[in-house]
């Protein structure tokens, strides 16, 4: 529990096919490798701009397949939070040739459903002034039409096709920065994947939209509202970022989610799921030439399109500590975070080291000062929260052991941060952190899906997966003085946001 490595993507929302599965997509904080990736990754780009990364691994006849679009919750317009995430759910509803008994008939019903649904939402947006009779009528119409559409649709066909052919880990993840679709398959079944994925990248059909909207509302109830830790994170981010979209939850704010709009979602899809905004990553028992033949055949026909230059509101520098409290019947928790630049800046790399020195393992400074002493039940730090395409946060999470308080934790944590600024880290401690960062990467790329996930993540976030191979040198350059300088520059109280969960008396 002390390694913060899985926290980087805590805010990725996924389709969660089984409830007990964790919703984290574990991508390590900092890449590095004694294992030479350079020669193993084969890179291709189709004429339409679709990029493909392939690594051959023949230990078992299986393959892990990732499709990542360079888009996420940051690209949503105000009032439309939750769009990227519900789009990811809608992508599982089939295509014009998958999931339908007769698409021509179905199409006209779907068109009517969306018109009535839009009219109903428009009326409901009036709030107390909504016409009760009108909403009732529209609701009834919607019900009838949905039943009608049900006659033509075959639910969950994509899932059925994959499952039947041995697909595993079928899931999708929406984050602030990127959206990924993942499946593992027996390696002779790649054509099925290409057939399904290329079709839904070109012609998805958004069936069952209104019931899926109910499902994501339930998802929010389950993963946020019933989870004090997640609720606190939401409050924390909304305070730490005043204007940058990282302030908003990936799932969306409830009042926006109620009115998630099908036309807006379609437009979002058309804009950002373009082949030239997409990376395919394949790791497993394949031959690159063979796979590329299939990929060209299926994905090559999708036209490229212009992806607009994205203007994202920049977060102004913070000039004073911000504090939020969440009163709840749950046990106390603390989050403290500091603004910082993102990768591939050198300072971000220094933060990877700071992250490890503070919370990487049982001998890390915060673990020893808090958990080892029985003051906190756990403590974590994470570098690069809640996303990494834009400047982000270095965050500390801790939970006090009763009767200790969040205030006591803060005092001890800040003292440790001061030591970072004033005392150079000992060479052994620095070397230990570097060893840990390098080895964590090896552990993460040891599985096919781990490697595929990492390649696509760094390709999207830094513009090139090769950041992974360059990282060891970057890491080696970090000196004790760099750590002091970076700590001094960013870990100061005026750059800090603190969120505290306070137990209701």
């Amino acid at each position: 529990m002390i390694s913060g490595k899985s926290l980087r993507n805590i805010l990725l929302e996924c389709l969660a096919i089984t409830c007990l599965a964790s919703f984290f997509l574990c991508i390590p904080l900092a890449p590095c490798s004694a294992y030479d990736l350079k020669d193993k990754v084969k890179e291709f780009t189709l004429e339409n701009g679709l990029k493909v990364l392939i690594v051959e691994r023949h230990a078992s006849p299986t393959v892990s397949l990732y499709i990542s679009h360079e888009t996420g919750a940051v690209d949503e317009g105000d009032g439309h939070t939750g769009t990227a995430h519900i789009l990811e759910h809608m992508m599982f509803k089939g295509t014009e040739t998958i999931g339908t008994k007769n698409f021509e008939e179905e199409k006209s019903t779907l068109r009517k459903i969306h018109a009535v649904g839009n009219a109903l939402d428009t009326e409901l947006m009036k709030g107390e002034n909504a016409d009760v009779q009108k909403t009732e009528n529209l609701r009834r119409q919607l019900d009838t039409l949905q039943k009608e559409a049900g006659k033509w649709s075959i639910p969950s066909e994509i899932d059925r096709l994959y499952t039947e052919k041995g697909g595993g880990d079928l899931n999708a993840f929406t984050g602030q920065d990127l959206t990924s679709y993942h499946v593992s398959l027996p390696s002779n079944r790649i054509e099925l994947w290409a057939r399904i994925e290329s079709d839904r990248m070109a012609n998805p059909v958004f069936r069952e939209f209104y019931s899926e909207r109910d499902v994501v509302m339930q998802e929010r109830k389950q993963t946020v509202e019933s989870n004090p830790g997640r609720r606190l994170i939401e409050q924390f981010l909304a305070a730490a970022f005043m204007v940058h979209p990282y302030r908003r939850p990936v799932l969306g704010w409830t009042p926006d989610m109620r009115f998630l709009n099908i036309d807006y979602i379609k437009e979002f899809f058309r804009t950002y799921y373009a082949p030239n905004n997409t990376i395919i990553t394949i790791v497993g028992d394949v031959s690159p030439e063979g796979v590329m033949k299939i990929i060209k055949h299926y994905f090559g026909r999708i036209p490229s399109q212009e992806v607009p230059i994205r203007h994202v509101t920049e977060e102004p520098p913070q000039s004073g500590e911000r504090r939020v409290k969440l009163v709840s019947d749950a046990s106390p928790r603390l989050i403290a975070g500091y603004h910082k630049p993102t990768l591939p800046s050198f300072d971000d790399c220094v933060f990877d080291i700071i992250d490890t020195i503070l919370s990487g393992g049982r001998t890390s400074r915060l673990y020893k000062a808090l958990v080892e002493k029985g003051i906190a039940v756990d403590v974590n730090t994470t570098n690069g929260f809640p996303g990494a395409r834009y400047p982000n946060l270095f965050v500390i999470f801790a939970q006090p052991v009763s009767p200790h308080t969040c205030g006591e934790l803060e005092e001890i944590i800040y003292k440790e941060l001061d030591i970072l600024k004033k005392e150079p880290a000992k060479p052994e401690e620095l070397e230990k952190a570097k060893n840990q960062l390098k080895t964590d990467i090896l552990r993460n790329i040891s599985t096919n899906s781990g490697l595929a996930g990492m390649l696509s993540y760094y390709e999207v976030v830094t513009g090139s997966w090769q950041y992974i191979t360059k990282f060891p040198d970057l890491l080696e350059r970090v000196t004790p003085e760099d750590i002091m300088a970076v700590a001094e520059k960013y870990l100061e109280s005026r750059n800090r946001t603190v969120a505290e969960l306070v137990k209701k008396k």
Binding site: A16, S156, D159, E164, K165, G166, Q218, S331, R362, E431
Partner: protein, 475 residues
């Protein structure tokens, strides 16, 4: 006789010709695939003189070595009133130092080489695992074997472990799903040690002598199996294990724990907690892996709720009714027994609707089994095709082959798995459904706030228990 588990070897590209040339897309169901021929590597088994059994598989892709020692101990053996002892023993074995080094020294040595050693304690097994760089194998193994053979359970680390465990138990009340699944466990294993759970009071009573005695009772070489995989030659690994653990000689050890009594009697249980979503679990006893009913029950579970979007609970409760985000079934078979259940998290007002839908699906399965040949074929094909993923990582292959022996299952269990699955017929499903899904032994558990339910729970039958959210200490 040697058998191929799954059929096929290297990936051959075989594009169905119409997809390649045709303007329209092939029907995904008509894609033709090259056969997949694969013989999973077999782990090497070595039995040492002192009784330790080693399963070993080389894997030279990444310069890491993984090693797991599985010991027969666990919460099943917790003495009454001292529930949590097994877990605390595992924790302090890892943190409390050895005869030659303090816990803190061990942590320093290990962190410096970026090695990871973790302990997990289950109901009837404890696993000590290490992941270490191949170049540091000797240093890592020395620490690992000393933790196993020479732990000293320092008083200070025990105190810390108790403080942290107590806080962790108190924090369970922040997690509605955890409360519900813990309570379900207590109900399903009522009258059996598996149903006793740790509490703040039971942790309080644990003392260092308890740990020492517990350790002495279980940590004996004849009670340990080791799975090792990674970037190391087999002969070298065997030599290293022998030199670090070969001199450990304490005979004896406990046998397998007895099977829990079969649960009889239905009950409806309500836990009051004011939460935005109710947690609903309905469950009962199920066959174990050695039962002839096992394969049919796997299929039953898949169709009921663990087979993804198409499975009945998911399709109905989530997709058709939109009542829940998470809904499905779980089946945890051990060798001699198993537990099966369905679950959903639904908003307060939909609680009773979700519960009704789930009950209807279970009743329907019990009364009719699986009538559609298509549904049965889909489930079997899915399970069989996915089985290859049981062999996708060397560490997993070596562990699962070792666990067969640990669990007392035949060593051809995995190799025969797909053939046995292939033989499941709809009459088998009907038989197991009728046998295990009887309403008379069904445990229903609802956690939520009944004020918010649109219909009273009593419409379901008589309450057996009402448990308040935080003090669930009843036995």
């Amino acid at each position: 006789m040697r058998r191929y588990i799954v059929y096929a070897a290297v990936f051959i590209i075989l594009l169905s010709s119409c997809a390649w040339h045709g303007a329209s897309l092939t029907d995904p169901d008509d894609i033709v695939y090259a056969p997949l021929r694969f013989e999973p590597p077999k782990a090497q088994r070595v039995k040492f003189e002192n009784g330790i059994i080693l399963y070993m598989l080389e894997d030279h892709e990444i310069p890491l070595v993984n090693i797991s020692a599985v010991i027969r101990m666990g919460s099943f053996y917790d003495p009454p009133e001292k529930e949590g002892l097994a877990k605390i023993t595992g924790t302090v074995m890892r943190t409390g130092g050895t005869k030659s080094k303090t816990g803190n020294q061990i942590d320093e040595d290990l962190d410096f080489i970026a090695g990871k050693i973790t302990v997990s304690v289950g109901t009837d097994s404890c696993t000590l695992s290490m992941s270490v760089l191949e170049k540091d194998m000797d240093k890592g193994l020395q620490i690992f074997s000393n933790l196993l053979i020479n732990p000293v359970f320092s008083e200070g680390k025990l105190e810390t472990a108790k403080i942290l465990e107590t806080e962790a138990i108190e924090r369970i009340s922040d997690n509605p799903q955890k409360i519900a699944f813990r309570e379900f466990r207590r109900l399903i294993y009522h009258g059996d040690p598996r149903g006793r759970l740790s509490s703040v009071e039971s942790i309080e009573k644990i003392e260092r002598d308890d740990l020492l005695n517990f350790y002495k009772r279980f940590f004996r070489p004849g009670n340990v199996m080791i799975a090792l995989s990674g970037d190391i030659e087999t002969a070298d690994a065997v030599k290293k294990i022998k030199s670090s653990l070969g001199a450990w000689n304490i005979p004896g050890g406990p046998g397998k724990p007895p099977t829990p009594p079969v649960r009889v009697g239905a009950s409806l249980n309500y836990i009051h907690k004011d939460t935005p979503q109710s947690v609903i679990i309905i469950g009962q006893s199920a066959p174990g892996k050695e039962s002839s009913d096992y394969y049919a029950f796997e299929v039953l579970d898949f169709i009921t709720g663990s087979g993804g979007f198409r499975s009945r609970i998911f399709a109905e409760v989530r997709n058709r009714l939109g009542l829940a985000y998470s809904a499905g079934s779980f089946y945890s078979p051990r060798t001699e027994y198993g537990v099966f259940g369905v679950y959903a998290m639904a908003k307060g007002s939909s609680t009773v609707d979700a519960l009704s839908a789930m009950t209807k699906i279970l009743d329907n399965m019990r009364d009719r089994g699986v009538e559609s040949g298509e549904e049965l074929a889909w489930a079997k094909e899915s399970i069989i095709n996915n089985f290859i993923f049981s062999f996708s990582e060397p560490s997993q292959i070596v562990m699962s082959q070792m666990m067969l022996e640990f669990d007392g299952l035949p060593d051809n269990f995995l190799t025969n798995y797909t053939d046995n699955m292939e033989m499941v017929k709809s009459s088998d499903l009907r038989y197991v459904a009728a046998r295990y899904l009887s309403g008379e032994s069904r445990i229903v558990l609802v956690l939520g706030n009944k004020e918010k339910f649109s219909k009273p729970l009593s419409s379901f039958g008589d309450f057996h228990r009402e448990i308040s959210g935080t003090e669930n200490q009843e036995n």
